[in-house]
């Protein structure tokens, strides 16, 4: 795991002091809210529907047990005993007091955490694959590259006031578990003629104009990565629109210019950058890679314990995957227990998890963009003990990748921008489809729910996407079908008129019936069937004879 250098420590400590002073001046009236707002946003502090909200970065989703304990401590002391893990590998506190925020940031800095790059029109927290460094098919671990990019981007003087926010994701294999193609820049590590480099994608995004990123470079040598990013960002900074917030993201620029024209501008800027300082040499790379070595795992033949316990067996089947070192497993922890808001964890759960990770997973925890957690290195022989321990904490729900493993934004329960609630919808789904066997029969299915068109809950790329709308003061839900956030990223298609909350479950049932009717064999999943038969069949079955409940 990355360790702060002395410079990192100094920067973070002085940033906390600076913010403390800014808060003091605000409370004394020496700064107006207008002057203060950009300053608080630079430190991750928003004002939401009920209270302030503090968004804390979890760079590339990696947490130590010490950090998780600190988050739990903050949740208990300064908040209401829980936190919300987001789709961009951050954690949000929903109730902090402005007065307490400098102290919270000080606490965070003591465990090498901060809330920088979690808001505003800067390069945001770099996100990555939660299985980085753990799988055999990976070409290279993306986390060191995230860290290299993080170092370059934090406080980059030219890129702190971009036309709009800017999100980058890096992955290390063909499989995309980080929704890389709906980021402003997506980087995939690839190998060509025995040389490792990057395939570069640009102009993806969600929000009101969802777009899948376009490939701008099939292969970029590693040493050029920062110069190339600098060239993209410079082009965006120069050409991106600042006159209209809805047209300010890089995706709009790429769309308006066309990828070829945009590429030529980038390549021109790239060729002008004789900035050797940004070229990374092997020594630098090696040094950063040193922070991300695996713990001392010894390959062995330990098998997963067999127990005559159906719940345990379901959990093994659904939530546990093999580690690249034989004899170990990767354990995925669902934060989608029935009746719980997706992505939320209580401080007690976090404290327990910190202890569990120390006992079972070399003190390491990962956060996924699907709002779940991961224990990355668990010995096979400990799996039954671990399951028992997780069960006590309500952290052993067996639903990874199934219909109740929904992604969900905070919606109108918390968010000032929402047009409808989203958490109650995910809870209705998890209540209705509670049964594991029923879920298993439906198979792999990603439902993603947003409380407004900003799409924080990724609805555009859900196999079934649900978007909350306001229709004359009533909550309505628009359904999209066929989206994907993976390597075959696709924006879902709107199926038709929206549904009231009371009709939504019936609508989902009907959609699933169409799927079941057309499924050719047991393993053909929802998305495959959708792609094969198209939206028409779903539409017909859904709207003919729909019995509306009031």
């Amino acid at each position: 795991m990355y360790k702060y250098s002395d410079t990192d420590k100094k920067i973070i400590t002085s940033r906390v002091k600076q913010f403390e002073n800014q808060v003091k001046r605000r409370l004394e009236g020496k700064l107006t809210e207008e002057e203060f707002k950009p300053l608080r946003l630079m430190n991750g502090l928003y004002l939401q529907l009920h209270a302030y909200m503090l968004r804390v970065a979890i760079p590339y989703g990696e947490l130590s047990s010490k950090q998780l304990r600190k988050i739990a401590f903050i949740a208990d002391k300064y908040d209401r005993g829980y936190g919300h893990f987001t789709t961009r590998q951050n954690i949000q506190f929903n109730w902090p007091k402005l007065l307490d925020v400098p102290e919270i940031l000080r606490e965070l800095s003591s465990v090498e955490m901060h809330a920088i790059q979690t808001s505003g029109n800067c390069i945001r927290n770099i996100s990555s694959d939660h299985l980085a460094g753990l799988t055999l098919n990976e070409i290279e671990d993306p986390r060191p590259w995230c860290e290299i990019i993080r170092k370059w981007s934090t406080f980059h003087p030219e890129f702190s006031f971009l036309p709009r926010k800017f999100k980058i994701a890096v992955i290390g294999c063909t499989e995309d578990r980080a929704a890389m193609l709906v980021h402003d820049i997506g980087l995939r590590i690839v190998e060509r003629k025995n040389q490792v480099g990057f395939e570069v994608f640009v102009g993806g995004g969600q929000g009101r104009t969802p777009i899948i990123a376009k490939r701008i470079r099939a292969f970029l040598p590693k040493k050029d990565i920062l110069n190339y990013l600098e060239a993209i960002l410079t082009t965006y900074n120069q050409e991106g629109r600042r006159d209209n917030i809805y047209k300010a993201r890089i995706k709009i620029l790429v769309k308006e210019l066309g990828i070829e024209k945009f590429k030529s501008l980038v390549e021109e800027n790239f060729s002008k950058l004789s900035n050797k300082e940004l070229e990374i040499d092997d020594k630098n790379i090696e040094e950063i890679f040193g922070f991300f070595r695996l713990p001392p795992l010894k390959s062995n033949t330990n098998q997963i314990p067999f127990k005559k316990n159906q719940e345990y067996q379901n959990w093994i089947k659904q939530n546990v995957i093999p580690h690249k070192i034989q004899g170990y497993s990767i354990v995925q922890i669902s934060l989608k227990a029935p009746k719980k808001p997706p992505g939320d964890a209580t401080s007690n759960q976090m404290i327990a998890l910190a202890e569990i990770s120390e006992k079972f997973s070399f003190s390491e925890i990962r956060v996924t963009h699907e709002q779940n957690l991961v224990l990355p290195h668990v010995s096979n022989k400990e799996l039954f003990n671990l399951w028992n321990r997780l069960k006590i904490e309500n952290l052993a729900t067996s639903n990874l990748g199934l219909i109740t493993d929904t992604i969900c934004c905070p919606g109108m329960d918390y968010c000032a921008l929402a047009t409808a609630r989203s958490i109650p919808i995910s809870q209705k789904i998890s209540k209705h489809f509670d049964n594991y066997l029923q879920q298993k029969e439906i198979g792999d299915l990603k439902i993603k729910i947003s409380g407004c068109i900003n799409a924080c809950g990724h609805h555009h790329v859900g196999n079934i996407g649900i978007l909350g709308l306001d229709r004359k003061g009533q909550e309505f839900y628009q359904i999209t079908l066929g989206g994907s956030a993976k390597e075959d990223a696709t924006i879902g298609e709107i199926v038709g008129p929206s549904f009231s909350e009371n009709n939504l479950i019936e609508a989902i049932e009907k959609i699933l019936n169409t799927y079941k009717k057309h499924k050719r064999n047991k393993s053909e999943d929802f998305l495959t069937v959708f792609r094969r038969i198209g939206i028409k069949e779903f539409k017909k079955d859904l709207y003919d004879n729909f019995t509306k409940k009031v």
Binding site: L49, A51, W95, M412, D413, G473
Partner: protein, 91 residues
């Protein structure tokens, strides 16, 4: 603040600067309960705008807004209802 106001009667609401908590304007000043909040007629809006501007300046509140009431005097929109009575889900 008044730009898009519709309706006849309102409550004046805001967030407390120090804590961020939702507050309503009552005869006794800002309170976290809406029960005693003053019901404001549309033609009184200017007066209350001045009050909230002053309290913003005094660093008591931020983000003041008028909350629309329906004919029965209840808070009208779902967003304002949730803002008043809290999240609708269990943690």
């Amino acid at each position: 603040m008044v730009k898009k106001l519709q309706g006849e009667t309102f409550l004046l609401s805001a967030n407390e600067l120090k804590s961020g908590k939702v507050v309503f304007f009552t005869l006794k000043g800002w309170s976290s309960s809406s029960v005693e909040a003053i019901k404001i007629k549309v033609d009184e809006i200017n007066k209350y705008e001045e009050i909230s501007a002053k309290d913003e300046k005094k660093c008591i509140i931020i983000s003041p807004k008028f909350v629309e009431l329906d004919e029965e005097g209840n808070i009208k929109t779902l967003r304002d209802k949730i803002r008043n009575s809290g999240i609708t889900i269990k943690i």
